[in-house]
Each structure stands twice: as C-alpha cells, then as structure tokens.
C-alpha cells in the first residue's frame, strides 16, 4: 500500500507523452465517459449561449405573458415564435426557460460544490492532523452543522438578506461543507496513522506539506465520490428549497425552480411543465457524475492497471 502512495511521479514511459496527453487518452478510454463529457460540453454551451439562441428572455417580464401560459409543445406564442417545448404556468417558453435556468443551476451547483468542498476539505484535514482541542472544536461545529436543516439556513438568509443567487449559494455551502469535512477527516485519520506519514514527518517535512502533499492525495478518492454526489445533490437541494418557498426568485427561475413549479403540474396532464425541466436536470447531473466517476478512476493512482 505504502509503496504506491510514496511513489514519486511515475517514471517516464518509453513513449514520450505529456501527462496531459496520457490523462486524455485514459479518460476517453471509456465510451460512456466520453459521451457524458460531450453531453456536458453541449449543455454548458447551450447554457452559456442561451441569450443568443432562445426566442424569449424569460427574466424580462415584458416578454413573458401569462396569456401564453400552459401551452403544449409546438404551440405558437403570441409574439409569433414557436414554443417547441411548450410553456409553463406563467407563460415562459420552456425551451428558453430551461436554457436560462441551466445557467443558474450549473453555476449555483458548481460554485456551492467547489466552495463547500474547499472549506470542508481544509477544515477536515486540519481537524485530523492537528487533533487535540482544535479537532474537538471543529468536529463539534460539524456536528452542529449537520443537524441544522438547510431549509432553516435558507429561510434565515432569505429573511435577513432577501432572495438571490448569492444567498442560495451561501445557504448550500453552509448546508454542505460539513459533509466534506467529516469525510475528509475520517479518511485522513486512517491515513495519519500510516507509515508513510510517519516517514514524511521523520524527514522533517513541514506540517502543511505533509497534510497537503501526502495526506490529501490519499483522501481524494472518497472525496470525489462525495463531491460528485453532493454537487449534483446541490442542484436538487436547490429545487427542494424552491419547493419549500425559500429558493431562488420566482421570476428568474433556475432549473430547480422550474422543477419545483412543475411539481404542481405532475397530475394535471400537462406533462411538459414537469417532465422537460426534469429531463434537463437528469442529463446535467448524470453527465457531471459520469465525468466525475471517470476522473476519479483516472486520477486515482491505485486504480492504475
């Protein structure tokens, strides 16, 4: 076990190959991962290009008309364009709304995921490595956090600061960092006891170096598992907060808000209002996860054949 982890960067193979090239080749070995990667790229592109490729700006109330509400796919809007995916209850063209919503949801999911991961990782590592009083304090704060429902955090933020993307990101970070912290700490505790850490310490390496260069890489595998799950989960958590009325603003719907709105229509026979945003979310989350899985396999030194 120890020998693999202590290995310095793998000795160059016969063929001259940059690390990136090797990484790319390994990543695209899996056809599923490759497909997922391209789907993700397309989704990202659609989201980024949304203002230029949609007939309606769903955030501009002057362009949204409740008289266009609940039209089935293929209907013509009053303004003349065709609503290929139909419209929702407020009269938003679902195709436009989903693309705009994707922008918000992806940025919310990624931003909150990355920030929470970073915060959690640092806190967890510090706890595991420092031990003693520091660890005790940190882990009790984690306990506190884990028992604190995201809905309440969001409600407090909404009440104190109003609704908005930044507040939702903050709420999601607050709700999620503790998961990472706990995972990292649990893994790091095991790693800390291993010989290679002792060896590194004996070599007189600084604490920071031991933690980040030696312990951290060995904690990455579970962290990526939790990370991909949690990032994806952030998007659906955001939908849940909207479902509870403390999510993003009604007039600037994210994918989560669209899904929460669609919930009311699930029995109504107007399948498009709930199904299309659901499919969009599913595709996004699935591709993020498949890419994440493959990343983990490729990056994890122990999985190398």
């Amino acid at each position: 076990m120890t020998d693999t982890t202590l290995q310095s960067p793998a000795p160059a193979k016969v063929k001259v190959e940059t690390p990136f090239q090797r990484f790319r080749a390994e990543f695209f070995e899996s056809r599923i991962a490759a497909t997922a990667f391209f789907v993700l790229v397309i989704i990202m592109a659609l989201a980024i290009l949304a203002p230029w490729i949609t007939p309606q700006n769903p955030y501009d109330l002057a362009q949204v008309d409740v008289l266009d509400g609940r039209l089935p796919p293929g209907s013509e809007a009053f303004a003349g364009y065709t609503m290929w995916l139909g419209s929702d209850g407020a009269g938003r063209d679902l195709y436009s709304a989903i693309l705009y919503g994707l922008r918000i949801s992806i940025s919310v999911g990624l931003a909150s995921g990355v920030i929470a991961l970073f915060v959690g990782m640092v806190v967890g590592l510090v706890a595991a490595y420092a031990g003693g009083r520091t660890e005790a304090v940190i882990m009790r704060v984690v306990d506190l956090q884990l028992s604190f429902p995201a809905a309440l955090v969001a409600l407090m933020l909404v009440a104190a600061l109003g609704k908005g993307i930044d507040k939702i990101i903050l709420a999601l970070v607050v709700a999620q960092w503790a998961y990472y912290a706990r995972t990292v700490r649990a893994t790091a505790l095991v790693e800390r006891g291993k010989e290679y850490v002792e060896a590194a310490q004996c070599l007189g390496l600084s604490k920071t170096r031991v933690v980040f260069r030696h312990i951290l890489p060995n904690c990455l595998a579970p962290l990526i598992v939790v990370g991909t799950v949690q990032t994806a989960h952030a998007v659906s958590l955001e939908a849940t907060l909207s479902f509870l009325g403390v999510g993003l603003p009604q007039t600037e719907p994210s994918l989560g808000v669209l899904i929460a709105n669609g919930f009311e229509y699930m029995l109504s026979g107007r399948y498009w209002i709930s199904v299309f945003p659901g499919i969009a979310l599913l595709l996004t989350v699935a591709s993020i996860n498949l890419v994440g899985d493959q990343l983990r396999d490729v990056l994890n030194p122990r999985m190398k054949k």
């Binding site: 409740v66 008289l67 009325g245 699930m266």
Partner: protein
C-alpha cells in the same frame, strides 16, 4: 332513520348498534390543513373552527353561505338599544347526556376569550359584551354602545359544557375527556398530524348526519392529496389545487364541488409615505410616491387583466373582483363591477399624472398563503410592466412576509410599497373588510388593523363608523354598500378576484361548498 336513532338513545350500547346497523357508513376526508387542538376555544383559526363545528354547536349557526340560522339559540333580538335577548333551545343534550342550559352559555363566554397558552382566542368577538343569565333558557347580552353585529359575533363561539368543558385544559380536549359538545358528531380520537376521528351523535337535536364515522386525515401537499383520492385512500379532499381541476373533471369516478368563498385577493398600495421604499424613478432614483395619486392607482387597476388572472393563473376557478365581497353577501354594492382591462387607458392616466414613462415598482407577496399567490403576483408584474411600470416580483413564505408587510420598516410601519394580500370576511358581511382594510389605521379604536397601505379618507371612515352603529339591517346594508363604493372609487385598494374553493369526492358523493372555506362532514351528501 329517526326511529332507529330513538331506539339507540334507549339502548345503552350505542356503539354496538351503530356498527351493527345497516346505516353504518364511514367517510374519510383528506384535509389541506389540520387544526392545532381539539379545544374549540384554543385557536380562532379556520381549520380549528371547521373541526369544532362537528363536535360543538354555536348559539347561532352560519349556513353554507354564512347566513345566520338558529343553533342552540332559537331566537335573538334587541330588547333595547344596548341589550339583546337570546332564547335557548330546550331539550338539547350534551354527548355525555347532561342537559344544555344557560349556565353552559355563561361559562362558555367566560372561557372562550381566555384560554391559557392560546395563540389567538375569541376575545375579539366578546369584548365589550356582558352576559347575564335570566333563566335556564334565556340569556341577555348587553353592550355599552348600540351594536348591530351581535348575532354575527355570537355565531363564532362554540358552546361547551359547564360540567365537562369549562374547567378543563386544552390537553383534556385533545385527549377527548373534555371534548363534550352538543354537535352532530362525538369525539373519537385525535392523533396530531395523522388523523381525527368522530362518530355520529345519534341524539343530535338537529338533522342527524348520514355518516356513522368520519376520519379526517391531514395531507398537506396538494398533489399528494389528489393522489390519495385517486388511489381511493380517502373519499373526499378539500382544497383541490387549481392545476389538477381540469384533469379531475375529465374523470368519471370523481365528482367536483366548487363554491365562491368570502375571500377577496387584493392589492394594497403605499398611501402614507412621500418616499416609498420600493418605488423608484425609471432611472432607479428616488421619486415622490406616485401611489398617492388616485389616477396612478386607477391606472394600475386598469392595467390588470382580471379575466386573464382568472382564466390563465386560476384556471377559471375564481371570480374577477370589483369590490370587497362577492355578490350575495350582506352589504355589497349592486353598482360595482370589476374594472375593465384597459392598458391604453392606464397609460393615458399615467401620462396625465405625470408619469408618461412609468416608474419602477416592486410587488411583494406570499408564496404559501393563498391559492396560486406567487403566480398571481408574477402575472400582475407582467401586466404592469407592459403599461410602463417596470415591476419586480418578490415572493416569500408567509412567515417572513406578514411580519414585514405589517410592521417591517424601522419605525414599525409596513415595509412594502405594493403588496398582494387576501381577506376572508369571517363575519360574512361587508363591515369586516371595511373596518379592517379601508378604515384609517387607528390603534385606539381598533380600526384599520390590516390597512397595510394606510389609505385614509375621513368621509369613508365616517360612513363605516355610522354603519357599525346602525342596528337596522336595511339601513346598515346601504351604508356598507356606500362605503364600499367610495373606497373603490378612491382606489383605496385594488381587488383582483374572489377565491373559489374546490372539493373533490369519489363518485356518488357531493360536497355542499361553503363560503367560509370550511370542510364539514355534515355537508357531504350522497347523490
């Protein structure tokens, strides 16, 4: 049926007979919101009052249109300017077999305003009233000033038993030991969040219900409630979401009942601040509050397409509103119609008032209080934006919303400039919204308590106050109608629509809709 009931009264084991009898029929109802206690005086709240209707009678009953009819009192009338005489029904028995008489009334009226830990009691309806027992079946109620709404107020108070209920705590009602009333049903069991069961009172003085057993199940989530009905787990549900009405209508095995409620959805506009926090110029700068100008308010009213709200947002299940209560209620005006949608007229009015390019406005509303509230706010935002008033929409949970809307600003005043709210007239007549929403905010007299726009017009105030002193029904009705007309012409508030409530039952059952939105097992009839 009646004979059977009489026989049951003689028999000791009513239960055995009930379960054995052919008339034993169970009804399961899915409710959207559940009561907070079985104590009828604990919380003056719709769900609590609806449940207490089954177990406890009032002196005066409100029928499905909130018209008053004899309950435990057979007659009531003023005997002088300040005193009302109530004659009580004789021969009525409580569920425990004891007789009903004036002592029960007196102790009820003492307990109702003053239940320990009660979040909101019935004191509102009882203050200023003195109760006096004349004989076992006569009670006098006196006030300090002439008071026309005596019957309406008294019709809200559930009567409990002197021996079993008056000395009891809320907990005793929840366990059932004190939940002894004279109502058509007897207490069965109460499991908060899970179910409330009742059994028929075969000795009921009025028409005995057809259901021998009723089970109320709280199912808060709308789609889940509909699913429970479709799956056959419940026989009837209250508060059918508007989105599902279309689909249920098409199903042969489901029967819908709809009825307009006493609830008007309306907009309050800031009419007390020179600088309103959520009104800005087109460039985002501070401007003098345009909502102070009647023409601007009228322009907003004209810009709102009420039919579109009803058809598109409410899926046809609502009525456009032109005043405070729908047709048929006491004190409504025959002259008022919903304001027509007229975007060009609105633009002209805005130009006339000096806002040819409009201004910026934020509409605030709750997102979990009224039927489709957030969607309505959004639709209004769209409509106003189209006539040049660039409107932002902000909706929030009612826990955050009402506190801020009532006294959220630093000086304890309403925080918002333009809000979506609703008002249900509990008394079933027009003085209720006039007194609370239109009358000048006056803490000492208790007027204008929900006047969150702080509209103030001395003439209207005088008219309302006069109505509230006038005992003569006909005169009062006219005064209320006049006050309403003045308020609408002044655009004190902008009514948008009246809520229509929908119940759905499995085929063969029908619910008689109630304007007070209550769901009562007595109203479920077989077809």
């Amino acid at each position: 049926m009646r004979k059977l009931t009489a026989a049951a009264a003689v028999s000791v084991s009513v239960f055995a007979l009930l379960t054995g009898a052919a008339s034993a029929e169970k009804l399961t109802i899915g409710l959207a919101s559940e009561p907070t206690a079985m104590d009828p005086h604990f919380h003056n709240l719709g769900p609590n009052n609806a449940i207490s209707y089954h177990l406890f009678d009032r002196l005066i009953a409100q029928d499905e249109k909130q018209r008053l009819s004899p309950g435990l009192a057979v007659s009531w009338q003023p005997i002088d300017e300040l005193t009302w005489e109530f004659k009580l029904r004789e021969g009525v028995k409580f569920h425990d077999g004891s007789d009903f008489n004036a002592d029960d009334v007196i102790c009820t009226m003492e307990r109702a305003p003053d239940v320990p830990n009660s979040p909101s009691g019935f004191g509102t309806y009882l203050k200023g009233k003195t109760f006096k027992k004349i004989d076992d079946y006569t009670v006098h109620i006196s006030t300090e000033t002439p008071y026309p709404l005596m019957a309406n107020d008294i019709s809200t108070i559930p009567v409990i038993s002197d021996s079993a209920g008056c000395g009891a705590a809320t907990e005793d009602f929840n366990t059932g030991t004190a939940a002894i009333g004279t109502g058509p049903f007897k207490f069965g069991s109460y499991k908060p969040g899970e179910s409330i069961t009742m059994v028929r009172n075969d000795d009921y003085w009025g028409e005995a219900p057809i259901w021998s057993e009723v089970d109320f199940r709280p199912i808060k989530s709308g789609p889940s409630r509909v699913a429970a009905l479709l799956a056959g787990d419940v026989d009837m549900i209250a508060s059918v979401p508007t989105t599902d009405i279309g689909v249920l209508e098409g199903k042969g095995e489901i029967q819908l009942s709809q009825g307009v409620s006493n609830r008007v959805i309306y907009l309050h506009l800031d009419q007390f601040r020179e600088n309103s926090p959520f009104v800005k110029g087109t460039d985002g700068s501070d401007i003098k509050n345009p909502l102070l100008d009647q023409r601007v308010r009228l322009a907003i009213s004209k810009a709102i397409n009420r039919n579109a709200i009803v058809d598109r947002v409410m899926e046809g299940v609502a009525l456009p509103a032109g005043q405070l209560l729908p047709e048929g209620f006491f004190g409504v005006s025959a002259n008022l119609q919903p304001i027509d949608y007229d975007p060009n007229g609105a633009k002209e009015l805005l130009a006339e008032a000096g806002y040819p390019d409009g201004f910026q406005l934020t509409i605030h509303g709750p997102n979990d209080r009224y039927i489709n509230d957030a969607k309505i706010a959004e639709a209004i935002g769209q409509m106003l934006t189209r006539v040049g008033i660039k409107t932002a929409v902000e909706t929030m949970p009612r826990s955050v919303y009402f506190g801020r809307a009532s006294r959220g600003s630093a000086d304890g005043q309403p925080e918002f400039s333009f809000i979506l709210v609703g008002w249900g007239a509990g008394s079933g007549e027009a003085s209720s919204p006039l007194k609370s929403l239109i009358h000048t905010y006056d803490k000492d007299k208790g007027f204008g308590s929900s006047n969150r726009g702080r509209h103030s017009n001395a003439e209207i105030d005088a008219k309302i106050e006069e109505a509230l002193r006038t005992v003569d029904d006909e005169k009062r009705q006219d005064l209320l109608a006049e006050a309403t007309e003045m308020a609408i012409n002044d655009v004190a508030i902008i009514p948008t629509h009246f809520q229509v409530n929908t119940w759905a039952a499995k085929k063969g059952l029908k619910y008689i809709p109630r304007t007070d939105e209550y769901t009562l097992a007595m109203g479920v009839v077989k077809e």
